[in-house]
Amino acid sequence: MTAQNLFSVSIFFIVFRETLEAVVIVSVLLGLVEQIVHGDIDHFPTLTEHYRPVSAHHNDSETTTPGEGESDATLKRRLIRKLRMQVFAGAGVGLFVSFALGAAFIAVWFTKASNLWSKAENLWEGIFELIASLMIFVMGVTMLKLDRAKAKWRVKLQHAFSDHRVDRRTRTGKWVLFILPMITVLREGIEAVVFVGGVALGQPAKSIPIAAIVGLICGLVCGFFIYQFASRSTLTIFLIVMTNLILLIGAGLFSKAIWSFQENAFNNLLGVDVDDAGGDGPGSYDVRGNVWHLDCCNPETDMPWGIFNAVLGWTNSATQGSVLSYVFYWVMVIVVLVYMKFKEGRTKLFGWESAAGTRRRLAGEKQAEEAVDERVSHSSPMSSTQSPPQ
């Protein structure tokens, strides 16, 4: 499909994004481990009491008896390291399984399905581009909420631990820090694999590994930086940029999907693949519904334009379908984002307020009242003495 022989831009972005999310979550978990061990008692009442007995009873080999022999800090450090290893182990297993699944899927895909594919090339490409673009839509929009991940995960974790108080507490409780990252990474990994499978269709197999590996590395690096340095606002800016890039790719994919379906219909009409005829001149495209056609700049033959095609969905022969679908995708993004912000209560639509909005406003007003009261009560002794004497 594109002429990128060694590096597929869309695969890079997909793998990057998935890795990033997985890394963020894992890093959040790692951060929580510290909080757990250093006794963030308010947040994890049962958790802390849960882990202290465990460390005492189940780690005979470590022979850490609380008391004179070891300092409390060393104990804690060892605990932190152990719990962190659980998180890493979970993440690692998840990664491995998703890779294995991915490799198997792609191997089967490229051998069996490429036969099917070559017979109805444009149709398959179109279907997968469509699926990929829809998933990117969801992904891109939810990515904007990633900055709330830390708080969200803390609460989830707390809840998960507090519930395991009654039954099977030791087993599940012990492994929760392993299972959660594993599931998370597995989910992200499978998402990435399906995406890559869809987008990879039609791209030379050589372009996938390098792009995927680079995406993986970049995701790890960026995730690490987010974990270490990110304040909420830096994270927000970073996420905005990433989301915009992802949505650009998604819109391009959606447009390409519609374009591929139309190309497929035209090929069926002609009975032969129109690319085979060669050239970009008259006769190489369907004049009905064509919006622009340039006798150059064909992403299927020129490498630089292929990159434009991968990132922005550029084509030298646009149809009404491909143009309208591109616009429609962004319109949906706008609509959904506006709706989400409305639902969260952070904005009003034509004077209407959502339930959450009402809640926030009332809470905000209450806080403001309380703040005023406090200020008033602090300064009240003075004011009472200033009341005019009788």
Binding site: D147, H159, A160, A251, L270, S284, W292, V323, R346, R360
Partner: protein, 633 residues
């Protein structure tokens, strides 16, 4: 009524001793014809039989053909190669010389052979909407009592060759000029036909063969044979009556000497193989062998280089035979290693006509292109030929003084003066070989180039003036990328079309027309133009006067069918607006993302925790939906 039938007779009888050969041709459909033995189909025949009978006329006589249309579409009959001097309304080309004979009506074609000075091998075929492809075609032979080579042969046969389709021409045409065919791939013939005739009737099939009943009187392909007697010399008239494919023709075990091409007698030219493009004719002398121990194969192979593809289930090569003795076996020599193209420029006419210096040179550059409606069309000098509303001859007759205005006939027209010597430099921008035919004249082949835009004189030689006796014929093949210079003296007032004789190309617009001496046409038409010509136009609702669009003006061509046009690529207005729209929505989308994330307050961590807890409570209330995945949330 009597007057209408008598008038043409009277016209012809003026050379007192000449006879008139009168034919009544009812053009009819013939069902279930299966000449190639592969497929039964409906064909267009004459008087209920197919193929239409060969027409053989003495050069002392005239020919009068009453053509009655008994099919359900318009029909005409064009006597290919006949001059029709000053009477071009008899030429039979729809859109140029007549409107087409409506179903049920009759057109009397007066062919003044005895005053034309013409002799030799010609043919007659339909010339309206491609009906000749469905079978309306037959040899037309002009026999002189004093043939140039009369003493050199003992008997003659006529060999008709053509490509053959199993589908009817209108369906093929619709599939050809179609948005699903942007490359302009011509319909591929399903087979080829070769059949023989002598003395006005077709030769029967070989005894013992069992041909299809409808055409069982005629031998086709391997069932066709020429009976040769040892020691005799035969004249074989070879005609390509097809729609698309050229033929390579040769006879195993026998030599050929060309003595005539397109009705021009020439000095004997020995050849091993003939290449005959659509509508071309040759006469060759073949001397029979002295022994009857073997029969010999006659080969007629279609030139498949212009076929879009050659399906494996068609046989483009026909093998007929010469029979010396019915008890002998047929000798078929091993296939030839290569085909040879006949160099007709090198032929020398017997009657000497030197080349006169030209007064006008008209360049006609043609090619094919996918047009703005997605269909593939041909164009000459960037104009696609579409038949005008009013046939050109009627415009010439009715426009008065304005008849000399070239514009009035449509952008594909040229008005030339009587006595002009015209050079047509026809340049082939396509890769295929195209046989071009000019009605009403024979053309002198002055020059040929293999690559018309080359500066190498071996590929693009300069024209040599003062040629003493250049070859002349009415159908000239132009090879891919090449050109040919054709010269003729405009001494025949009338409306004459010049077109590629591949039927598909004519339909897609590869034609121009020449109006010679329009004012002379008007003068000489007095009392000679038949009234039924105009009546037939009115019967189908076509105006009979005015310019090409039917208006009595030299310049107002509104309503003239034209086009389709070249595609305009690049950034047009609609493309620019579309791109702007895309960019605009993208920008708004990006701004929305920013607005969502960075503006309007953020949700604090406490709020997030509250929301998550609420969601968990809600899920618990709903119950264990995914019993497997959620342990006990």
């Amino acid at each position: 009524m009597w007057c209408r039938q008598l008038l043409p007779l009277l016209a012809l009888l003026s050379p007192a001793l000449a006879g008139v050969q009168e034919l009544w041709w009812n053009v009819t459909y013939v069902q279930n014809a299966n000449p190639d033995g592969l497929f039964e189909r409906r064909v267009i025949g004459v008087n209920g039989t197919w193929p239409p009978p060969p027409i053989e006329v003495s050069t002392n006589d005239s020919l009068l053909v009453h053509v009655t249309n008994n099919i359900d579409q318009l029909a005409t009959l064009h006597h290919h190669g006949m001059y029709f001097n000053s009477t071009s309304w008899m030429d039979g080309a729809m859109g140029v010389s007549q409107c087409g004979i409506p179903p049920g009506q009759t057109f009397d074609y007066v062919v003044p052979i005895n005053t034309s000075g013409q002799v030799g091998t010609y043919w007659a075929h339909g010339h309206s909407n491609g009906i000749y492809v469905d079978g309306l075609r037959a040899p037309l032979l002009l026999h002189s009592p004093n043939e140039t080579y009369g003493a050199d042969y003992d008997a003659e046969f006529t060999i008709s060759m053509s490509d053959w389709y199993h589908q009817e021409q209108p369906a093929l045409s619709k599939a050809f000029i179609n948005i699903a065919n942007p490359g302009g791939a011509e319909p591929i013939p399903n087979s080829a036909l070769v059949y023989f005739s002598q003395n006005g009737s077709y030769l029967p099939p070989i005894p013992g063969s069992s041909p299809s009943p409808v055409t069982s009187a005629v031998g086709f392909n391997e069932n066709a044979t020429l009976p040769f007697e040892p020691g005799k010399t035969y004249r074989l008239r070879i005609i390509n009556l097809g729609a698309f494919a050229g033929f390579y023709f040769w006879i195993d075990g026998h030599d050929m000497r060309i003595i005539e091409a397109d009705g021009t007698d020439i000095q004997e030219q020995p050849v091993d193989m003939l290449s005959v493009s659509v509508a071309q004719r040759y006469s060759v002398l073949v001397t029979a062998r002295n022994d009857t121990s073997s029969n010999w194969a006659i080969h007629a192979n279609m030139d498949t280089t212009m076929f879009d593809k050659v399906p494996s289930n068609i046989n483009p090569n026909v093998t007929s035979s010469i029979t010396y003795s019915t008890s002998s076996n047929l000798t078929i020599l091993s296939p030839v290693s290569s085909y040879t193209t006949t160099n007709d420029s090198a032929l020398v006419p017997i009657d000497i006509e030197p080349a006169i210096p030209p007064t006008n040179t008209i360049q006609l550059a043609f090619n094919f292109q996918t047009m703005n409606d997605g269909t593939n069309h041909a164009y000459i000098n960037d104009v696609v030929y579409n038949p005008p509303v009013v046939p050109a001859i009627m415009s010439a007759l009715s426009l008065g003084e304005n008849a000399t205005s070239q514009v009035a006939y449509g952008p594909y027209s040229f008005v030339i003066n009587y006595g002009d010597v015209i050079d047509l430099v026809v340049q082939n921008g396509d890769t295929g070989k195209h046989p071009f035919h000019l009605h009403g004249y024979k053309m002198q082949i002055m020059n040929r180039a293999t690559q018309y835009n080359s500066s190498d004189p071996s590929l693009n030689p300069p024209l040599i003036e003062g040629q003493a006796n250049p070859m002349r014929r009415d159908t000239v093949a132009i090879t891919g990328g090449g050109s040919v210079t054709l010269r003729f003296v405009a001494n025949n007032p009338g409306a004459w079309i010049f077109h590629c004789h591949v039927e598909w190309h004519l339909e897609s617009g590869l034609a121009v027309q020449f109006i010679t001496a329009p004012l002379l046409i008007q003068e000489q038409a007095q009392g000679r133009v038949p009234a039924f010509m105009f009546e037939q136009c009115s019967a189908i609702g076509v105006p009979t006067s005015g310019n090409a669009a039917g208006h009595a003006s030299a310049t107002d061509l509104s309503g003239l069918p034209l086009g389709p046009w070249f595609q305009e690529l690049g950034w047009l207005a609609k493309g620019i607006w579309a791109m702007a729209g895309c960019v605009l929505t993208t920008v708004i989308g990006i701004l929305t993302v920013v607005w969502y994330s960075a503006m309007g307050g953020t949700i604090s961590e406490e709020e997030i925790e509250e929301q998550v807890l609420q969601r968990i409570e809600a899920k618990k209330r709903k119950g264990k939906f995914f019993g497997l995945l959620k342990k006990k949330t």
